[in-house]
């Protein structure tokens, strides 16, 4: 197995809380190293208390085991700290299509004062914040003032 093949297998591993995004789309898959029979994978949490990290590790093991790969080591690293800037463009488009507003471009420099560019349902720019926190630590809750639908916003982080 080559590194590319492993990465290809891991592209099937999705975040359990946002199942449209793979761990690569989300930017939490940081490195893959392959030497002989041994595979070493480096992942990083989105938030310190992200409850999905253990499930993600199990899902990685399961995906690789399906291809007969069992000599797998998974390490976690905190630094450099994960940022939404690492989310892929494809990932951002998948998020929008799923109904979650993607993190604003260059919004991380605003340090928490960022907001979604538009409503992911009707694309109106008339939106307002309902709550700084949404269904998970990485999201905030907004509503559209035109189509009146509430929606999650993946905060810049």
């Amino acid at each position: 197995m080559t590194k590319e093949q492993i990465i290809n297998i891991l592209s099937e591993v999705n975040d359990p809380e946002i199942p449209v995004l793979s761990i690569a789309d989300l930017g939490i898959l940081r490195n893959v190293e392959v030497s002989d029979e041994h595979i070493s994978i480096l992942i990083t949490p989105t938030y310190s208390g992200c409850p999905a990290m253990e499930t993600i590790q199990e899902d990685i093991r399961f995906a690789l085991a399906k291809h007969g790969l069992e000599n797998v080591e998974i390490k976690q690293s905190l630094s450099p700290a994960w940022t939404t800037d690492w989310m892929s463009e494809a990932g951002k488009q998948k998020l929008q299509a799923y109904g979650i507003a993607a993190p604003a471009a260059n919004g991380c420099s605003l340090q928490g004062d960022d907001q979604p560019e538009s409503c992911p349902h009707c694309h109106s720019k008339k939106i307002e914040q309902i709550s700084r926190f949404g269904s998970t630590a990485c999201k905030a809750l907004y509503r559209c003032l035109e189509c009146h639908e509430p929606f999650d916003y993946f905060k810049c982080h």
């Binding site: 992200c50 690293s77 940022t83 949404g134 809750l141």
Partner: protein, 256 residues
Amino acid sequence: MDLISAYIVHQADDALILGHRNSEWTGHGPILEQDIALSNIALDQIGQARNFYQLAATRITELSGDPVTEDDLAYLRDVPDFRNCILVELPKGDWGQTILRQFYFSIYQYLLYLELQQSQLPEIAAIAEKSIKETRYHVKWSSEWVIRLGDGTEESHSRLIDAMYILNPCIAELFIPSDYEYEAAGSGVGILPEAIEMAWFEQVNKVLMSATLPVLKAGKKTIPILSGKNGVHSEHLGHLLAEMQFLQRTYPGNSW
């Protein structure tokens, strides 16, 4: 336990105990969105605590040769072994008291993490770098709430004044260094809390002014009788631990 490990455990204890207090709001928040907000903040804090406990456990194991885990540190120590400040262990009180405590502590923790990013111990620097983004958001959320309540109705204003009577006496402890803080600062692993004291008062007072609340006087220190940072806790911590540690005490060694 060596003093550097104690310094790391102190950071973990502050985060865990306040995280646990905030988790007491889960299912009881005044409105659903804020219930979720506080639960998410609790999750961030318990996550930060885990990172510090894991680091301390590895270090203590290496130095002593006796295997210690993060769970041993969180669930199998008793009141005098905890190194959290009194501020975080007080009961959650009403919404105003919870908000004001979160605000005081988040600004403290934000300024602390800002400095710890330069720690000579790379693992501490990494935890600080990771945590500071979360804590910055807690500062924003709690500052907005302090202003909303302080500059809100007569009732909400008076609730915050009541909260100040309860919480303000706990502020001095944050900035009185303990032996492990001297050791950590001396070796470049951590800082003396005095280093962030002026910045803390400045930032807190800026928000208190917007909230039409009385500002705090910096530098006026009465040495408190209790010192949670040195293991001399209020009566409240024991009750908290009784609930938090129940499972591990009843079913020793149980794991996920």
